[in-house]
Symmetry: C2
Subunit: 161 residues, 2 copies
DNA sequence: TACCTAAGTTGAAATGATTACAAATCGGGT
DNA sequence: ACCCGATTTGTAATCATTTCAACTTAGGTA
């Protein structure tokens, strides 16, 4: 699919009875091109450049609408902010607790059906792995001779890999 | 294990080189008795009754320390607040998006080892299912003839089952 | 094509969870 | 009984998200 073709996103919205607005198209297109699981502020900052009147509330409203209609997934993998993923393809995620980056993980869950058939109505399935990504492991090894950095869990780490 | 015996929690802390304080014992015991995945405010409100001088910051500090040493797990299943689970026994969770209750789910992941052996250093594994719990499904069916309640995703729902 | 109305957008203000910080207190080794 | 570094406390930030009311617009209709 041509991710730059606006017609596709128009159709996605129409198919679900959602009104087509420039903002929704903008956000939908952004998420389909940038598959790095951005948070609201990242999306906002990026899109504001093309559309200075864009409001952060619109990002929240739009993401909620898109999520309700299965066009985006809300990842609650981080302790602090929600992250977003275009589409509804089922896959898992790895969160690096150092650089806060999220990686897609392709693993199937054969026992999942047991859950889907039970007394619960399952709308979403999330597999989250958390730890250190290869890039940060390498970076960490490099710095080991300088100081043995502590690897913490709860707090947001703003350092980048 | 006798969940009311303080000695056990003293030992758990000492084993990990953590200082033993009344607050830590209080919180650790609370989590081991109340397996309903409380959030910080719930823990705080409950424990403040026994100890009126308790500070919410202490709950945050303690939970962070306990999580770092594998005595509690941080669940990022909700879009809004972190929820906590005593122990490090690996199991999954179901979040009811109506009543905000979390259920323990016992499912093993046979393909998990592939992830654990890879280039990523995996410290945590979380399986989150989200949807409607049996209790809310029943409640919802009961109210159907009155009004067809919308089932939303993103926002916090304060209604109780 | 012009119009109407419900739905969508905007920005400012409120809320709520979490963190930062500095002063007071305490655990546990000497 | 002392001491020191770790812990606790309360207050004040900070930051993500929601609320709300006024304004604008998409898209159906005359």
């Amino acid at each position: 699919m041509d991710k730059n073709n606006t017609d596709i996103y128009v159709q996605l919205l129409k198919d679900r009875g959602l009104r087509v607005t420039p903002q929704r198209l903008q956000i939908l297109k952004y998420l389909n091109i940038h598959k790095n699981h951005p948070d609201v502020t990242t999306i906002f900052t990026a899109l504001r450049k093309e559309n200075p009147a864009l409001s952060k509330t619109t990002i929240y409203n739009t993401l909620e609408a898109l999520a309700e209609h299965g066009l985006v997934q809300v990842l609650t993998i981080t302790p602090t902010e929600n992250r977003f993923d275009a589409g509804d393809r089922m896959h898992h995620h790895f969160l690096c607790k150092h650089c806060n980056k999220i990686y897609d993980i392709e693993i199937e869950c054969p026992h999942l059906n047991r859950m889907l058939e039970g007394e619960f109505k399952v709308d979403e399935v999330h597999g989250y792995f958390k730890g250190s990504c290869p890039s940060c492991l390498k970076e960490n090894a490099k710095n080991d001779h300088i100081q043995n950095k502590n690897i913490k869990g709860l707090k947001k780490d703003t350092s980048k890999c």
